[in-house]
Symmetry: C2
Subunit: 717 residues, 2 copies
Amino acid sequence: MDPVLFAAPAAGVLALIFAYWKAGWVTKQDPGEGEMIEIADEIAIGAMAFLGREYRVIAMFVAGVAALLAAANMSGEARSPLIAVAFVGGAAASALAGFIGMRVATKANVRTTAAARHGIAQALQVAFSGGSVMGMSVVGLALLGLGGFYVAFTQVIFKDSLLTALNVLTGFSMGASSIALFARVGGGIYTKAADVGADLVGKVEAGLPEDDPRNPAVIADNVGDNVGDVAGMGADLFESFVGAIIGAMILGFGATCVAGGTGDLGPVVLPLAIAAAGTLASMLGTFVVKTKEGGNLQHALDMGAFGSAGIMVVVTFLLADMFWPEAGTALAGKEMVSAVDVGIATVIGLGVGVAVGMITSYYCSMDKPPVNAVADQSETGAATNIIAGLGLGMQSTALPILAIAAGVVGSAHFAGLYGVAIAALGMLSTTGIQLAVDAYGPVADNAGGIAEMSKQPPIVRERTDKLDAVGNTTAAIGKGFAIGSAAMTALALFAAFAQQANVTSIDITQPLVMAGVFVGGMLPFLFSSMAMKAVGEAAMEMITEVRRQFREIEGLLEGKVKPDTARCVDISTQAALKSMMMPGILAVSSPIAFGFLLGPEALGGMLAGVTVTGVCMAIFMSNAGGAWDNAKKSFEGGGHTTQKGALLAKGTDAHNAAVVGDTVGDPFKDTAGPSLNILVKLMSVVALVIAPLIANEVAAPAAGAPAPAAPPATAGN
Amino acid sequence: MDPVLFAAPAAGVLALIFAYWKAGWVTKQDPGEGEMIEIADEIAIGAMAFLGREYRVIAMFVAGVAALLAAANMSGEARSPLIAVAFVGGAAASALAGFIGMRVATKANVRTTAAARHGIAQALQVAFSGGSVMGMSVVGLALLGLGGFYVAFTQVIFKDSLLTALNVLTGFSMGASSIALFARVGGGIYTKAADVGADLVGKVEAGLPEDDPRNPAVIADNVGDNVGDVAGMGADLFESFVGAIIGAMILGFGATCVAGGTGDLGPVVLPLAIAAAGTLASMLGTFVVKTKEGGNLQHALDMGAFGSAGIMVVVTFLLADMFWPEAGTALAGKEMVSAVDVGIATVIGLGVGVAVGMITSYYCSMDKPPVNAVADQSETGAATNIIAGLGLGMQSTALPILAIAAGVVGSAHFAGLYGVAIAALGMLSTTGIQLAVDAYGPVADNAGGIAEMSKQPPIVRERTDKLDAVGNTTAAIGKGFAIGSAAMTALALFAAFAQQANVTSIDITQPLVMAGVFVGGMLPFLFSSMAMKAVGEAAMEMITEVRRQFREIEGLLEGKVKPDTARCVDISTQAALKSMMMPGILAVSSPIAFGFLLGPEALGGMLAGVTVTGVCMAIFMSNAGGAWDNAKKSFEGGGHTTQKGALLAKGTDAHNAAVVGDTVGDPFKDTAGPSLNILVKLMSVVALVIAPLIANEVAAPAAGAPAPAAPPATAGN
């Protein structure tokens, strides 16, 4: 057995040890005292309670799907019921990562508040450490699970058929996708129902400041930040990370291991190696994230993320050189691909990721022209603010899509469809630190909330606000990054599906494919509508409840009596659990129904349709929401100065109009938009999982036949 | 020369004579007196002035494109610079139809008001006659132009090459598309800038009723109804009608006239015959539209539209039997297709059109659950109303897309890709009466405005309101119908493009095609953002101007002084002319750039992308807008009763929230949404026009070689 096979699980274990160490450090920090601890406990208990209930619901879904998977794969060439085990493994690993990440995030929040009493540098350290536990848990469990299963399947269980091993491994990716779906949809509904309720009644109607303890929905809002932005984002990137690896592995298998191939395993193992190296680079990156008092926080975070990415640019070429067949190899879509070609394709992916992130950030940042224009349009009321935000969101799809399209063409130019998959992985190799930076945001946000609610001195809130502001920028970039990587991952999985289903051409001039493209293209709209509707209805319930409490609980608004926060937590929880099921079933059942009824080509058309509209809609909704959010924020503080020079202060009609926009944006950017990332990946991975079941017959013995089980020792140089 | 060739131009002439007769009848009706005439003149002058200025701008565009077309087709097999003549002809015919239709509509409006003083039956007669002039002008000029060019090209100019004749004929369709684009985008921006301005300041801020003469933007608003809903819708359906005919003709040519074909011209001529018959059926249908005092108006209109469609179901089979090769023929995608198969495919198209229209109507109708839910959500404010409307719009894409997908699969099952094209034509064969019913709406709307402004007795307004209410329902159905037919027409043109470009497969697993799908999928978002932004900015200017007039013109709000309506007309005009250019250039240049730079397969991917997201976005925006509109209306009159039984009256916060939603919906449903219909068709037709220039080489002598110039006499039985 080649020791290089253990690189991935070993890197995974290392990342988990790192996470454990960081978690221990966070726990040891000063949690403050009195009310601080009480509030933090309320948030932590609410978050863990929701996660527990959510997981119980998901467990039923997972059990049902696992049984179906096992039954459908009881017999048949290159199939095995063990796919159900891989599926449950993927689901469990993703769920566990979410659990660990949230647990630590809900400890880090109050400790960040406590640290902020002493200085911003310490507070950053605590908040970022909290985030990095999430980041490292995700990549650690992904690598350990995927790498471990790969070793077990290829070296022990399916020694004779690498194809079977890979087919079974797709179950892991599908398990991860299922968790991601529920985490994003459920978490997104939870957090936005609470947020909308807290904002509309608490802030607009009752005039309370953000995070005011008299607001009954404020605990639910803070819980929501954790279940939505920490656990949801974590599961999202877990899925992308795993999907990109598996997609590339399968395409690598197609390149060298099917009939006529050299049997060289390099292209199959390279993705695991890149992911493992990226995880190590991420760990290194976390050490760079520090700042002095008064230092530039954004710079500190950027140093970590870009530093890790920079390392990976170099390491990728080294790894490609190490694993890629020395003489080069032919790949689908390209006759001869060298190690350098593969390296370039990977770096192209990295570049596209950064580009999409930066463009997203431009469209959503305060003081940039797009957000300013939305703020300006608030002067004439909520309607023009909304029209402007919708227009901005639509416009903001253009450049990211061009970047993704260029990335597809460029990476395929160098390394065929394998290049597209490896580009997706290039984008995702440093997921560890990317996610640490992302998850830092809600920790800082929570810290601010706790500072406010526990009535800390203003300087504490000022410091957490600074952390939070940086968090918002990183969140915007992170969202763009999540969308870009989802698009590339979906394409990688799509290509892998076409290969595994023995589809030689998915021709859109064929009526069935056309129909598939149409129906697939419609699904993101239907899916988003479910999410929007769920948030709208839950928010309405929340609004009614908060209004009721203000009306009926005497002394609440005067601050003499505490609100019934548990009731609000319950409304969000119920709404999320109730409403996340249908979208989940839609996402899983559509590709299955299409694939079995109309064949793999029609399903391919459906995947193309869902990917293109899903990605466009995700960018549209995320960026519109982000812009509305910051347009509203630009009225706070000193007020917003329009292009024509008018100063519009907080509390004006224009500000109120901007609040309406922000509220509309909430389900856009935090529920429907991010859920679409999952939809496009999940549908592709479901297609990939069922590919062997609906595959076309092949005339020549190719992928369907037992693959040459080349000894792993041929991998590497 | 086969006399059957003259059927199409003859039917066109007949339709024009009918329109002339109807126009004369309308002109002869009582135009009322005094203030009525003054106001009507103001609207008519504003509308014609806008059309004149718009056409001058378009003329430059048309001249430029015509020159390019001529230059690009100076030489080359099966090409001719005469395509520029066909292009100018198509543009001129569409423009002329718009001119005639608007001219009569702006006469019919005040005459409808005058007739409403005597009774609703007479008022319906006048309004519908006005609409039918638009309907018959459109189909008349389309058939005369297209049929005339076809005769001239096939019988005189390109006697030896039917392929050349058809290639040149595509120019006519592109000319029609260009006018449609500007009419929809320009008209849409015009009408909504005025509408938003009139509503937000006049109604919400100043508390004036609809169409109050003190509102400075109210004339611009009424002008807008004409330029947007009459001229815009007319140009839209003109384009669909022509595009569906040409798409089917070219696919028919591919079926029988390329190498190996029988040379039978039946499949080429059949689309013209169906269109001609549909026009005659439409004329018959108009005679049925009448009602007694107190009769059911909706029923009267339905009788006309469904009656004509019913006739066509029968006639289609007769025509197919007459023109289709007796022995049947092989078509792309189907081995043997009989006349009955073709008839069935046509009727499937008709069915899909009706289905999409009905679904649209369900989602947008008052007192139906979707609209009621949006109205309910207004109780908690503008934000929840907007979220609900957006969710509804997204959800409403599902069934129409399923219907369209089923239509594609079904019609192709019976008659291959030719079946898809002929299905589109089946949907559009009765465009004459469909458009008459559509154009009736804005005439009735205007009549109400004139009644209000000229202070007619309440009974007059009540009657015009009844006419208007029916108009709104027909408008909703008409919009769905326009979208459905645009989708099918775009697919027909897409298939025709693939054939003419010698593309055997547009395989979405190819990276260039993938990139094409992505970029194409993004364009409707970019295009919509331009439209939304234009409306937002123009509306803001309008709002500022109306506020200024209320503030600065003393005695205006007391009704002692007249507002400066010309200034508002000017704002809308300027905004429309300024902002329509960029979307137009985007729509024309994208397929050209993609086709020449990346080849026909990448362009095919782009067309697929733009069609799927374009259609989804069009449905989403149209239906969200329609629902917001009627949600707002449900607060008027007796007030809206929520599901929980609360009665919310006019003027409550809930009603104001609904007004915000309606305002957001305005550019959605009347600017961006309908413009997308044009975008998808225009891009397909541009691709079809450049197809000979970017076509792949073919090994065997096929479409590229001179086609068998079978004598037309072989057509028919």
